[in-house]
Amino acid sequence: MAKKEYAFYPGCSSQLRGSASNYLTSVNSMCQTLDIKMTQIPDWNCCGASIGYAGSGELARHVMNARNFALAETHLPGQDVVATCAACWLGARETKDKLDASSQLMAETNEALKEAGLHYKAQVGVRHMVEVLIEDIGYEGLAQPIVKPLEGLKIAGYVGCQTNRPFGIAGESFENPMYLDKLVETLGAEALTKYEQKVTCCGGALAFSEPEKSQKQIKDIVESAYDHKADLIVTPCPLCQANVEIYQSEINKRHGTKLDMPVAYYSQLMAVAYGAKPKAAGLDGHVIAPKKLQDIAVKVVPAKK
C-alpha cells in the first residue's frame, strides 16, 4: 500500500499532556500500522471550538481556521487537513464551506491573514480521521493488520453530536450512523447496535459551565450502556470521551449511583487489535481503567510466520 500523507491538525486537547493526549498516542500507533503519515501543520493554532463564539464573533473565528489552512497549503501542499477532534473538524469544515460560498468573507479573511503574512488559496480539503479510515483505507484494509481480534468485548458505540451533525460521515444517517459499530465489528468485538444513546449530546463544552444539566445527559449515556451490558463505551470525540469518563464520579456523588464505565477511543481499540502494548495504545491515560482492553493488550500473540 502506498503511504498516505495528511496535514495533521491535532487540536489543543490532543497535545502532549492535554486532556486527550492518550488519543494522540493511540492515533500515532494506529497510523504507524496502517502506513499513514500524519505531519503536524507547522505552528497550527486552536480554533476556539464551538464555545468561543461570544468572544470571537464571526470573522475572527473563520480567520483562526483559515490560518491553519494557509499554513497547510504552504508547507504541506496537496495534503488534506485531517482533524482528530470533532469540534476542530466541525469548525474547520464550517469555515471552509462558508469561505467557498462567499467571496466577501473570503476577501475579508485574506485581508486579516495578510497581517500574519499569509494567504489562503481555498485549495485544502478538511477531513476527520474517521473519514480517512473509512474512505481512504476501507473496512477491509482496516481488518488486514489485526493480530488480536477483540473477541468477547461488548462495546457501546457512542458517536455523540459533532462527528455526526451537521456534516456527518458520507452515507450515514443522523439518527443512526453505523460506522462506529462497523468499525467495532471489523475489529472482532461485539457492537451493541441497540444502544439508545448513540447520538445523544453529552452537554459538550457546557459540561463546565452547566455541570448539573450536562451530568444528567451523561448519566443517561452511561446507564444505557449498562442496560445493554457493555464492557466499555467507545467514541470518536475527545470532548465526549473526557465528559463521559471524568464526570461519572461526580454523578455517583450527586445521585448515589455506582457508575464505573470505561470510555475509550476507536483508535485505542484499533491500536490494541493491531498488537500495541497498553502504553502505546494510551491505555494508561484513563481515570476509569478499561480493564478488559488492557487484558487483551498485555496478551502475547504468537509471532506471525
Binding site: R17, N22, A60, M64, E108, C161, A205, S209, E210
Partner: protein, 215 residues
C-alpha cells in the same frame, strides 16, 4: 459588561420598532429568521430543553413580534450546546445553532446579556485563553472557571472537584506546568495582528465601527 451600553442606545435609535431588521443586519445568519415557518420541530431538539425559557421556535417568533428586550436579555440562547440536532431536522434548513450563538453574541456586545450567565463567561474565557497564545491552556482555563466567582467560591469548587483533578494528573492528562508555560504558537504576534484586523473589519461591516467589538 452587563449594563446596556452606547452601542445599544445607538441600535435602539436606529431600529426603534423594527427588531427583525436589526437582527438581519447585526446578527450572524440573522437574515434566515424570516424563513422560519413555526413548525416547532426545533423546539423539541435541545438537550437542555427544559431549561430553555424560550425555545428557538419561540425566539424566532418573538423577534418578528419585536420583543427586543425579552429576546436579548434571555438566558435561553446560552443553553445551546452546539449539538446541531435542530439544524439537521429543520425543514427550512435554518442554521439555528449559528443564529443562537449570533443572538447571544449580539446581546453580549450590547451589554444586554445576563451578566452572571455562566456560559457567557465561559465562552469569553475560552476565546481569550485560546487566542492569547494561539493554543488553549487547559489548566489555566479550568482554574479560571473555578475562580470566576472569587477566591472563596473558587477554592470550594476546586476542592469539590479535586478527585477529578488528581485523577487526570495521575493519568498524565493535566499538566501542572501549563500554569507556568503552556503550549503556544510561535507566531503569536502575527496571530494578534490578524485578529485585531478581523475585529476591525467585522465592526466596519456591521457598521458598529465606533465600538470595540472585543472584550
Amino acid at each position: 459588561m452587563g449594563a446596556p451600553n452606547e452601542l445599544n442606545l445607538a441600535a435602539l435609535a436606529k431600529y426603534s420598532n423594527d427588531f427583525l431588521r436589526e437582527v438581519e443586519t447585526h446578527v450572524e445568519e440573522g437574515e434566515w429568521v424570516k424563513m422560519c415557518m413555526q413548525c416547532g420541530v426545533c423546539a423539541g431538539s435541545c438537550p437542555f430543553g427544559p431549561h430553555w425559557e424560550h425555545s428557538p421556535q419561540k425566539i424566532f417568533m418573538m423577534i418578528r413580534a419585536g420583543k427586543r428586550e425579552e429576546v436579548l436579555s434571555s438566558e435561553s440562547m446560552w443553553m445551546c450546546t452546539s449539538c446541531y440536532n435542530c439544524v439537521v431536522r429543520c425543514p427550512r434548513k435554518l442554521p439555528i445553532t449559528q443564529i443562537m450563538h449570533g443572538l447571544a453574541t449580539y446581546a453580549h456586545r450590547l451589554g444586554l446579556a445576563p451578566k452572571m450567565q455562566p456560559t457567557r463567561q465561559w465562552s469569553l474565557q475560552f476565546w481569550d485563553n485560546c487566542t492569547r497564545t494561539g493554543r488553549v491552556n487547559e489548566l489555566k482555563l479550568t482554574l479560571g472557571l473555578y475562580f470566576r466567582d472569587g477566591l472563596v467560591a473558587g477554592l470550594k469548587k476546586a476542592w469539590a472537584m479535586r478527585a477529578i483533578g488528581f485523577g487526570l494528573l495521575r493519568a498524565k492528562r493535566l499538566n501542572p506546568f501549563e500554569l507556568l508555560r503552556g503550549h503556544e504558537c510561535k507566531d503569536q504576534a502575527g496571530i494578534h495582528r490578524m485578529l485585531a484586523k478581523a475585529y476591525e473589519i467585522e465592526a466596519r461591516r456591521l457598521r458598529l465601527d465606533k465600538f470595540k467589538l472585543q472584550g
